[in-house]
Symmetry: C2
Subunit: 197 residues, 2 copies
DNA sequence: CCAGCCAACGAACGATCGTACGCTAAAGGA
DNA sequence: TCCTTTAGCGTACGATCGTTCGTTGGCTGG
């Protein structure tokens, strides 16, 4: 039962990966079993099976997307010491993530936030927890850098979290909707300006 | 033919108004004729009729939402002289709009931007034009205020547009997803800080 | 007053949705 | 070698999707 279990895991990951791609462009609620089955050359039953239901599939896709954000921005920054050094790396990674993201249509988390914020349920709860955790992590690095006297204190940590998050969101719109290729560089410059002054 | 034409117009507006509400929570692509018909106590044919097709209905709903944003933020600001005075009023109106918006689930334009940015078509084109026009209007007021020496020039107009837009988007997430009631006031303070420093 | 117009209805269509069921075939442990 | 497990398939179900049709009833212009 070893070999087959491994194969099943691989199939599951293949489904989720394709699901993330489709959900990035069409939205999580437009992620349909039929189209996903056709895209993967599988039967509908073969898609739903590993996840129990469509809701389970959506949850797996959202979880995967959150992991991908963490893998792209958070994880690599842990190699660097906390505070300003890590903050600088995070900003670089964040803007690089916005520039050429692992999703075809920009930040999946931002899109999911807009899509799910008014729909109570497991998806929203998970997204809320993810965003809260990310903001707390960002705030933590800001506080450490402030206490070390490395960045500005004219704005408090909460203000800076809002400012940095906002710059990322605006840049995301400029890249995805407006097609502005200069947005990532501007975002990076604005983020650095926000924490230095 | 006068009376009936007026009644038809009224029905059309009633459909669009309900459609805006539903699309605000469930997304524009989840705006379905059947549910809208049931919500309004009408037949499906009576819903589609005035718009020709579902796509026409979606377009009418998106157009209405854009009008509502303009009516809430842009139009009242035109009573005030351009430049810094108008900018201050716009910021107040903008944050008030985020705080208690005419939509049940936050800024419709931001949500639509995330939903449609990867889907070419008439909806995306209209949204692109709307956002471009709004950003140009905002930039214009910034430039006027800068040339008058009323606001900072350490950041250029494009930077300030990104910064202000971003603060609004971050605040929108804080209000709608995170349930942070202090977000509107913080957004207003951050916007004013961005242009004055 | 009456003929014509039109907003809205009700029914039906093919397609697709999510889900449930039984089946097949391959793989692993005894 | 045989038995059990299970990944994935094929089919069918009821519900709902968007759209099209003929009909109806109340208004309006003449």
């Amino acid at each position: 039962m070893r070999r087959s279990a491994e194969a099943a895991q691989l199939t599951r990951e293949r489904i989720v990966a394709t699901g993330v791609t489709k959900a990035s462009t069409d939205g999580l609620s437009a992620l349909t079993i039929g189209t996903l089955a056709e895209a993967l050359g599988m039967s509908k039953a073969g898609i739903v099976g590993p996840f129990g239901s469509r809701a389970g599939l959506q949850f797996a896709v959202l979880t995967k997307a959150a992991d991908m954000f963490i893998a792209a921005v958070v994880a690599p920054s842990m190699e660097v010491e906390s505070g300003l050094p890590r903050l600088r790396v995070m900003i670089d990674l964040w803007c690089g993530y916005l520039d050429s993201s692992p999703f075809p249509n920009g930040c999946f988390i931002t899109a999911a936030s807009c899509e799910l914020d008014g729909r109570p349920g497991e998806l929203r709860s998970f997204l809320l927890a993810t965003v809260t955790r990310w903001r707390a992590f960002l705030r933590e690095q800001i506080v450490i850098a402030q206490e070390a006297g490395d960045i500005t204190t004219t704005l408090d940590a909460d203000d800076l979290v809002t400012a940095l998050t906002g710059i990322a969101m605006a840049a995301n719109q400029e890249i995805q909707l407006l097609g502005d290729a200069t947005a990532p560089a501007r975002a990076r410059r604005l983020m650095l300006a926000a924490i230095t002054r």
